[in-house]
Each structure stands twice: as structure tokens, then as C-alpha cells.
Amino acid sequence: MSAIETAVSGNPKKRLSSGLTVTQKVFVRSRNGGATKVVREHYLRNDIPCLSKSCKRCPNIVKANAQGEFPNFVLETDPLFLKNGKIGKHYLILDTNIILSAIDLIESNLSFYDVIIPQTALEEVRNKSFPIYLRVRALCKNEEKRFIVFHNEFKEETFLNRNKDESINDYNDRLIREVAKFYAKHLSDVGINVVLLTNDRNNLSKALNENIITKTLSDYVELLPNADELRDLVPSEFSNDFSRPNEVSYPEYFSTSRINGGIKNGTLYQGSITISSYNFLEGSVSVPSLPKPLLVIGRENLNRAFNGDLCVVELLPRDKWRKPSSTIVDDEVINKNDVADNEDNEIIISDQERRLLTQEAIEAQNSKEIQPTGRVVGIIKRSWRLYVGQIAPNSINQSHTGNAPKSCFVILMDRTLPKIRIRTRRAKELQGKRIVIGVDSWPSTSKYPEGHFVRTLGEIESAEAETEALLLEHDVEYSPFSKNVLDCLPKEGHDWKVPVDLQADEFIKKRKDLRDKLVCSIDPPGCVDIDDALHAVKLPNGNYEVGVHIADVTNFVKSGTALDHEGANRGTSVYLVDKRIDMLPMLLGTDLCSLKPYVDRFAFSVLWELDENADIVNVNFTKSIIKSREAFSYEQAQLRIDNPSQKDDLTEGMRVLLKLSKILKQKRLDAGALNLASPEVKVYMDSETADPGEVEIKKLLDTNSLVEEFMLLANISVARKIYDAFPQTAMLRRHAPPPATNFETLNNMLTIRKKMYVSLESSKALADSLDRCVDPEDPYFNTLLRIMVTRCMMAAEYFSSGSYSYPEFRHYGLAVDIYTHFTSPIRRYCDVVAHRQLAAAIGYETLDPSHRDKNKMELIVRNINKRHRNAQFAGRASIEYYVGQVMRNNESKQEGYIIKIFSNGIVVLVPKFGVESLIKLDQLSNDANTSEFDENNYSLKFKDTNGKMRTVHIFDKCEVEVKSKLDEATGKRRAQLILV
């Protein structure tokens, strides 16, 4: 019982009972500059199976787990047979570096089945990249791929102690080789081999010495029957096989200890870098100690940072500070001389000097002169994902044939990102197609990052390829709902009905039966997912009873189910011009939850008693059952209300709603609500060919306003209620007031050119001053100004009430003190959470702990904010694409307004198409030298193509010829405007 055995490697283990042995692990943990000796007991078992269906011994040693389940033997009896290399039937064992670099290839359906992931490799992957770790775990759950995790460090036979002076990496490699040796021996009697895949030279040679069948990834792929398809997917190896001369030398990043030390004492700064969309060599990083973002200018200073990376920056010495550029710089126009000097020797700047520099930087930023600049000295987290792009036409040698892989460049759709170098044998074939690539690395000696090909989407400009490209680029989850998710839906499917017995269970009892109310819904034409319905009726006491009924989505989407997780992840439905990516399965969105007319439906109702002045006398929230009488479109509802011969109760109710909505709107405007315009357009599709036919700016009817006002009122009432019940974790929405600095430029331009001014004292002052800024000669000017003001605004965001204090709950644009989204749970996850919190607030059901936990709410909120933003951008990009297609067929002369002036170009907005585009100086004039840029007066003087001197100013109305031009490089269609 107390026998202490010494394993072969000379380290002690002690057997505690049959099947359980304990050993010891000692290591040093460095954290925050300290060093702690950590001692862990490590337990070893002898009942961990190999999980191969062919094995005869392992089924006898397994034991049931706590739930009484036995491990699932997954690996096939008949795995892939390879004749070449005398491998035969085999399983694969993956080394960590393979998983990290080639995860896309491993996930693809073309290869990699029956794979063993050693526990050692899995933990290394987890420490290096959590997203890839999650993908590996998902692969292990995928029944078709047959991946298993083999717990080699818990299994007595495969556990090894670390040798003296052995590095962690060598130790892990040795453990993985031990797994290979174990399997080779264990399965030798059933004729199945194991192949260890590793790209690490060291590990490879040691494995070969130990007689393990080992291959590098590319060697293994060559042996596969479908090698031709797979070759290109193999990521570029970071070895220097294909010797590339050192094109350029980027400065090396600082060591981790230096970065940590610098961040801790405030001499280095950490932040997300944003690359300017006008100048791809200029980025800015928001730094807490400086009032304005720190500029990072030039290729060398950007030091391989991608737009959106979390990086570490340091201030440059004073002589390198610059003015922010007022020029537009494109990829093609890079002037090497602009790049920061690299003749200077590396000067060591002490921490003390850095602190003084920071002080100077703060002062400089508060003045308007030279702005402090910095450079990137480290990247903490890359924002790399799969990108969409196409092969740059001029990067392929056209005369080249043959099968050797050649490097070529891929230009990404996102213009703030650099070109990516990939190696492919199919470059000619892939030209003209939209392709998806992944980025692998950016060595300091390479001018461009290295990547690999993943798959193609289709021809450039084809609708399917463009739509998919758009969704990928905006990180929208569009894959079909998985089986797990669909299993959460009611079994009856479309036959589900509201139960007849209203006393059947405790929950149904709490619902109010409102089927006698004359409820109707008003939505855009062709809408099938009806979120909301209204009713109104005059009460005997002269007041009005108004009800807003919202689809009761949370009745079907319960917390913690796969359906809920999927909805939480998607965060919102995405609306493209011709397509809609649903947040929840269609069964719910368009049928069971949708408040369709003539059928009984569950709803969540907000009932007010409003007086003549639309003031709230009291409010009630209840789960209910309703029956909508009609589903109107905005136009139909307007017609019905305006038709004097319609005198039935439903129409009267609608008239009451309209009357009250007008009063509510006036009250809001009096309180200072903003009425800003955005150049929203609607694209009309030709119904037969689905070709875009026409573009129209959306018009607003009274009935639009009707629905909007009551939705706002409902959102506000619900916000108050759930904040009252859950002050720390209520799901709310806020809109911060815009900082004055955002308006500086705009107000300058207004004062100088139009002698007008926009006041920022309060939202009311803003609204009023906006109303006053009218140009008697140009009615559109006011709308133009509103569009530009919208761009100065902060974005509204979702938040959990515990994260801010009450005054910060304010929604600036709506001029209310507290707000949430409650009225569209079918297409927004925020509303789903608000529904659950309201249901708990009224005592209908208990609230799931995740909606009461501050940290979990933080995570939810962060995700839905991100998804909301992405959905907006995706929607706009979709409109942009289709507008581009419309313009392709209709070139015309249109009115435009100048909204930005640079020293080498202007930006013009065309209201009819809602499109804005840059016109460069060399397109305006043949003689660039005669141009004069007056920064202070926001004007540009140049000699136009007719030889006449012409001056243009900001806000000027002009005429432009609108053409649609396909950019060869990016494959994007842009509006090309020519000043007339």
C-alpha cells in the first residue's frame, strides 16, 4: 500500500489504490513580475481507452462516468488506406503547430477523418489561441469527422515526467511522440498504423529516429488521393524554403517583459488601432492619457499592424511629430519618401524622458498645431479572421504554366488592410473570382503578410458571390440552423396552436385573454414577421386605453437552450436588399411568434390609460393572448384612416392612435428629440429578373410615425419597469451626447461658408439651431446638414444598467432619460432579454441567473453591440452594391453636394442615390500645379479641364456625371463622379 515506485525515467509515483497513481509537478509561475513556486499533484489513471472501434482490450477497462455514461468509441475500424509510403490503414495524430496553422484545412470536408488530438497538444492550442481551441472542440463533437481527444497526461502508460533542463516545448514534443508510440504498439495487432503530423523539424527528426511514422503536413497531403484539391489549402510554411530576399526590415517587436513593464509604468500604451479609410498609411490609437487619439503615420511606424489589432504603441521623439494629413493616400500612390526615416540609429529613450514626452504630447494635442505621433512596438492580439478578396491581376505572370506553386497577391475587400501574399497553383483559374483567404503571419522581413487560400465564392459581381462576400466580411453568421437548434422548436411545427384550455398550467393561467380587443398591425408591405400590433379604445371616463402587443418570443426561446445560444450569438437579424438572415428560425419568426391576422397568438402586452393629452395615467404589463384583426401596410392603413366612409370600431381605434401619436411626437420634439435624416434609399427590384430597376429615397407617412411613437412609448415604459426590478442588470440602451470636438470642423465650415452655427448646449438647442439653418435658395441644404450632423453623433449602444450611473442612461437623440429595445424580439436579441426581465418583473416567471449576473450581461451586451454594428454595415454595403448595379445601367447627370475638401480632391454626395464618392484632383484638372488649397476657408481652386480657373467650396451644390466603375483591383463597383 505504501510502496513507492520509481518509473523508468527515475521520478517517483505512488500508487494510491488500484488504478490510481499520484505524481508531482513543480514549476515556477511568473505573473505580474513576481515568481511563485507552484507544486501540483498529478493523478494518473489506467482506465483511459484508445477509443478505436477495432480495439479488443479497451472496452474491458473503461468505467462509467458520474452520469453513468461510457466513453464513445469513435475511431473507425476501417480508416483511410494509403498505399504510398506503406502507411496502409491509419489514424492521424496532430502536433500543436499543425493545428494552429492549418485549422481551416483540418476542418474542411475533403480530408482529415479519424484523428487523435493529444491532450498535450490541445492545451498548448488553448494557451496560444482560444478561438482555434473552440474550433477543435467543435470538431470533436462533429460525428462525421471522428476526432477524439486522447488524455495522454492522465493515462499512466503514456505519462512522462519532465527531465532536468528540458524545455517545456521539448517536453511536450516528447509527450506527443509517446502517444504515437503507444498507439502504434496498441493497435499493431489489428493492423492499424498511426501517422504523426508535425511541421517542427526537431520533433520530426526525433520521431523518425524513434521509428514513428511521421510526415510534415505538405508531405502528407501529397500522399492523399485528392491531393490536387488540397495542395493550395496548405498554409504557407514559415520556413525559408522558398528563399525570399529580405524585402524590407520592420523593427522587431519589444519583448513581453518590456511591454508589460512599460504598460504598468505608463510609458507604453495599449489600444486598438484604426486605419484611416482615406489614408491607408495613417492609423490612430485611442490612448487614455491623451485627449485625442495618437497618430501612427507611415509604414514603418505602423509596423505590420492590421486595422482593429490590439497593439502597444510608444510616443516618438518630438522631431518626428506631424500634422494629420489632409491628403488622400491610396495604395497606388505610396511615396516611399513619406515613410519614416530609417537611417536613424536606435536611440534608447529612458522612461523618464518618455514621461516628459507624454506631457508635451498632451499640450500639443490641445493646440491645433503639430500633433504627436507614435509607433507600434508590439501586437497583443491580432484581429485576423477569414477575409474576402481577389487575386490582383498584375501579380500573376501570365505566361507561366505548370504546376509549381507561385506566389501572388490577394487584394482584400476591406481597403484598410494590406495585400496578402499567398501561394497557389491555380492562380489563373482563380482570377476574376471572389476568394476567401486566411492570414498566417507577417514576418519582419516580408513587405506583405503571408496567407493561404481557403475557398472560392464565385464570380466577381455575381449576386451570390457578392452577398456571401458581404456577409463574411461583416462577420455575420449565415449558416443554416443546426439540428440541435431546430430540436428546440415545438414538435407540432406549423400546426402549433394556442391551447384551448386556459387553465391548463400555471403559466397559461397568468395570461390575460385579450382576444376581444380590436388589434391590428401596421408594417412595411410584404412583411411576414410581424413583431407588433396595436389597439386603442375610448374609455367611459374620457381617457383612452391603448395597447401595444409584442410577439411573445420568449415563450418559445427558453434561456440556456441551443436555440437561445444561437440567437444570442447572432444578436440580430441582418437585412440585405434581397435577403434576410434570421436571428431565429423561420418557424418562429414568420409563423408561431408572428402576430398574423385572424389567428390566436401569444403576446406580451403593454396597456396604458392615456388622457387627452397623451399623458400616462397608468400602465400595465401582462402576458396575453390576442387575435389580430388585420395586417396593414403603411399605405393601406393611411388610406383606411383617411377614408371618411370607414366608420367601424377598428378604424376609429386607428384614428385614436393617430391622434395620440401626433401629440406624443410633438411632446418629444418639444423636449429636444432630434430629427436627423440619413440618405436611406430603397432599391426596387424588377420582379421577373430580380435585377435592380430603380432607386428611391424612402418617404415617410403619418402611419410610419404612428407605429414609431407607440413603440418608443412602450420601450420607455418597459425600460422603467425593468430598471426598477433589476437595477444592476437591466438591459437598456443609451445614446451619449456628442463631444464638442466632433462638431468643431463642421461648425467651422458652417460659420465660414454659410454664417450659421449649430448649438451643442442641449439636444433641444441642437434641434432648434438645426431648424434655423435653412438656405432660402436651396431647400435640400437643411437635409444635407442633418446628414452631416448624424455623422458627428456618437453611436447608440446597449448596456447593462450596472455599468453606468443613472444620468448616463440618457438617450440624447430621443431626449429621454431611460430607454431600451423591447418591441422587436423576433429580430433583436436585446428585446429577448428585455422580455425575460419584464416577465420576471411582473412575476410571471423567475429570471435566469445569467440575466442577473453583471459579468454575463456585460458579455451579452458587448456581443449584441458588435453584431448590431456589423448588421448595419452589411445592410449599407448591400444597398451600395445594388445601387452600383442600378447606376451601371443608368449613367446620368445628377445634383451633388461637396461634403469634404482635401488638398488633392473633393468628396461629393449625390442625394438621389445616397452615394458619396471621391473626385481626385487629377480628374478635376490637368494641371495640378496651379491648384490652391485654402484650408481655413475650405476651398479648392484649380484649373478645370477647359482651362478656366474654378473654385469650389464646402457645401457647394454642383452637377456631376454619375457612372458606375468596376475597380479592377478590389473588384468593387464604385460610383465614379465627374464634375461638370
Binding site: Q24, V26, G34, K37, N260, G261
Partner: protein, 283 residues
């Protein structure tokens, strides 16, 4: 300890003759047998345990922490905890003060320095489980062993961080840690304190409980690297009034300590170098 007058006079007389006759037949410069082991606490950087033949037992644990040098007044911190004694009693305070006075002066501080800004701070925690005679000698031996077995994590980041601050990072392999006191260098061993009893003209080292009871006076003598070092202080080992000390006593004590000190150090070093297995000592 209560002695009858007969016992008392017997002990006194035997210890006063030349050479002194000690109750357990030791010679004047002989120590009582001890049992010592090192490195048995897995979570400490160094540890030791010494048991004395009269039942006294002490455990010392050494732990380290990375600190900013300028914020610390002293890089060594000693704490003594005696079973059944109050932590703030004079007894303990005196012990700590004797230990500090030698350890703080005779400790090679430069071994603790990591970078220009950071150093290791050493916490020496002593726990006396039981004692019958004055525990200072026992404790000092135990501390010596603990310090000799202490290992410090190996620094992997830069040493020169005066101008540019770096966060210290360490090698995560515990086997790569270096010993605080390298076994080869004899120049730099930790100091020791010896307790010497005085009766009549005789001095004898490591007095037992009875010997302390009848002693007229006592001396605490510091010893490091072959030399007598301060502190040298007198102490009353018995409950009765002490008699004076003459310079002869001090000189005799010095030469005795000098001689046996070397042997003690050699013996202790042998204990340290026999590689003890932490794991086995637990299981």
C-alpha cells in the same frame, strides 16, 4: 526546571572542575546529537527541520517574493513562532533580535538582487514545536540549513532596467532555479549563532537544560565563514541571578567556537548536499 539543592550542587561542582564533567558525558566543545533534514516543504523555496536529542524540534521555511528594491527597508524578514508562547512575548522578541542582528549584517544581499529595480525579499519563518533548553542554537542551525537549501527562480528578462522598465519574467522550470548559496563557495555561507554556558572558569558549548539551570552566565557568539562575528552578547540562561563574566571567559569562548564552528559547518553542509526527495518525504 526545578532542581533540588543536592542536584544543583552536584551539577555545579561537576561543571566547575577542570575539565568540566557534563551530565551526559559530553566534552566541553561537544554538541548534542541532532537529526536534520532539508527541502521537505514543497511550497517553500527552502525548508529544514532539526530535532534535538532532548526533544526540541524546529522547522524553518524560506520563501521569496519579487519586490521593488527602493520600497523595502530590508530584504530579509525573520519571524519566530514558538508553540504555546505569545507572539509578542519578550522571549520571542529577544530571539528575533539576536537572529536579525547577525543575519541582516552577515547576509550577502547582492545575491538577492535581480535587476536595477527589483530584488528578491526573503522571508524566514521559524516554528519551534518544542524546546527544553534555550532554542537559539537549535534555531540557528535550522536557519542555516534552510538557507543553504533555498533555491531562487531564474530570471529570463533583462537585468539592466534602470532606463527602460521591464517586468521581470522567470524560467518556468523549477529545476533551472539556482541555489541561493552555492555549495562550492565557502566564502559565503550563512552565519551561525552558538550558545555557550559559563560556570566558574569553564565554558561549554550547547548547554542542556540542567546545565543552563546552574550556569552563572551565558554567551551568544556569532560565527560566519571561519571567523567570529558580532553579535557577541551575554545572556542569562538560568532563572537566578547571574554572576559576572571575565575577559578570560570570552577568549575561551572565542577559541572554542572557532574550533567547533568549522566542524559544525562541514556537518551541516553534508546534510544539505545529500539530495533529499521532497516527494518521498511526503508520501
Amino acid at each position: 526546571m526545578i532542581l533540588s539543592p543536592a542536584e544543583r550542587s552536584y551539577l555545579y561542582d561537576s561543571l566547575s572542575v577542570q575539565p568540566p564533567v557534563r551530565p551526559d558525558a559530553r566534552s566541553a566543545h561537544q554538541f548534542r546529537p541532532i537529526e536534520a533534514s532539508c527541502s521537505f516543504l514543497p511550497n517553500s523555496n527552502g525548508s529544514s527541520r532539526v530535532r534535538l536529542s532532548d526533544g526540541g524540534e524546529a522547522i524553518v521555511s524560506v520563501k521569496t517574493q519579487v519586490v521593488l528594491t527602493k520600497n523595502e527597508s530590508s530584504l530579509i524578514s525573520i519571524d519566530v513562532d514558538i508553540n504555546k508562547e505569545r507572539d509578542d512575548s519578550n522571549f520571542i522578541k529577544n530571539l528575533i533580535s539576536s537572529l536579525e542582528s547577525i543575519l541582516l549584517k552577515k547576509f550577502p544581499i547582492e545575491k538577492l538582487k535581480l535587476t536595477e529595480r527589483y530584488s528578491f525579499k526573503v522571508y524566514i519563518d521559524c516554528f519551534i514545536l518544542s524546546h527544553n533548553s534555550y532554542p537559539l542554537g537549535l534555531l540557528s542551525l535550522c536557519i542555516y540549513l534552510a538557507l543553504k537549501s533555498t533555491r531562487l527562480p531564474l530570471l529570463t528578462s533583462t537585468v539592466n532596467d534602470r532606463e527602460i522598465e521591464e517586468q521581470p519574467t522567470f524560467n518556468d522550470d523549477w529545476e533551472a532555479s539556482k541555489k541561493l548559496f552555492e555549495p562550492s563557495e565557502h566564502q559565503d555561507d550563512p552565519p551561525l549563532l552558538f550558545v555557550v554556558g559559563i560556570i566558574g572558569n569553564n565554558v561549554f558549548i550547547d548547554p542542556s537544560n540542567e546545565e543552563e539551570e546552574v550556569s552563572e552566565n551565558g554567551l551568544i557568539v556569532g560565527f560566519a565563514n571561519g571567523e567570529i562575528v558580532p553579535p557577541v552578547q551575554s545572556t542569562n540562561l538560568s532563572n537566578r541571578d547571574s554572576k559576572g563574566i571575565s575577559p578570560k571567559h570570552i577568549l575561551k569562548a572565542y577559541s572554542m567556537v572557532r574550533n567547533c564552528g568549522k566542524e559544525v559547518v562541514k556537518a551541516l553542509n553534508t546534510v544539505v548536499s545529500s539530495d533529499d526527495d521532497v516527494f518521498t518525504s511526503i508520501y
